[in-house]
């Protein structure tokens, strides 16, 4: 089951990543609200979110080609 795989992959994330992913993806909190609720800088929220999503993507798709780290430029717009 796709959902079962997702839950399993979700369980493999760190507690911090799970919390941020749940609050933003499911509860639809804003980044600022999550930062305030967890008492961490907004940049920390964003990096946990990015790392969590990327890890989830790799697990879900068996993809080892990890994307860039949070905060790294992807390249300029032509």
């Amino acid at each position: 089951m796709r959902h079962r795989d997702l839950v399993r992959a979700f369980d493999s994330l760190s507690q911090e990543q799970r919390t941020v992913l749940l609050l933003i993806s499911v509860e639809e909190f804003s980044y600022a609200e999550v930062a305030s609720a967890l008492n961490v800088p907004i940049g920390t929220v964003m990096s946990r979110l990015a790392r969590g999503r990327e890890k989830l993507r790799c697990v879900m798709e068996g993809d080892t080609d990890v994307g860039p780290s949070p905060g790294q430029p992807l390249g300029r717009i032509e």
Partner: protein, 255 residues
Amino acid sequence: MTTHRPIIEDDLHAYIDGELDIERQAAVAEYLKGHPEVARRVDCYRRQRNALREVFAPIAKEPLPPALNLVRIVEKRRGLRAVRWQAVAAAFLLAVGMVAGWGLSENFRPLPAGIGALAREATENYAVYAPDRVRPVEIREAEVLARWAERRLSRPISVPDLSASGYRFMGGRLVATPHGAAVLFMYDDAEGTRIVLLSRTMGVDRDARMAPHAYGILGGFAWADKGIGYSLVGPVPPRVLEPIATAARKQLDGT
């Protein structure tokens, strides 16, 4: 255009979560058109977001595993905001004569025009601003708010500290009433329950003893001192609210 900042990884997530301003949103969309491999990844994140919602949203109301304690706390806050505040606002707007500790008991007395009008204005402003998730207050710093309000209302303004009663100052704003500009302070407790204190210059009832008022499930206490009226409003029972109103009044009298 090349005038934009480079797109970074964080932008992709902010793009998915609707956190970007319109200009940046457009810049990311433009970038994705030229970078199909990144676009695929963004699409994957988006599907992942929807899948998480499908999986977890139905159980959001059920008890969460202990590992998610923090989520439960925040979920509780969300619940308060999403459900209780909306219910409060709806209950008020429907003007249902419900009684929740307030209402047709001995606490309920129609208040004289001046204080009665003030009580109604405070309750109306509560219904508008307290349920607001995005911007319940305009200014968070007590001193900045006081300076602004002093300039606009041409009188000294002090912000009562209700932390001893368990209510934290969230901020405030100037609001309009049929009797001129008023200043609204908002506070919340550890559970996220919000109360407001509205204050304006009084035309009548320039000095009035503290008296309870109630509209629907929103109760309050209003009083006036030396031409300035105050009304403290919240969805809490009178026995809880009265000592808080008394604490506020003492502080305001002392200034």
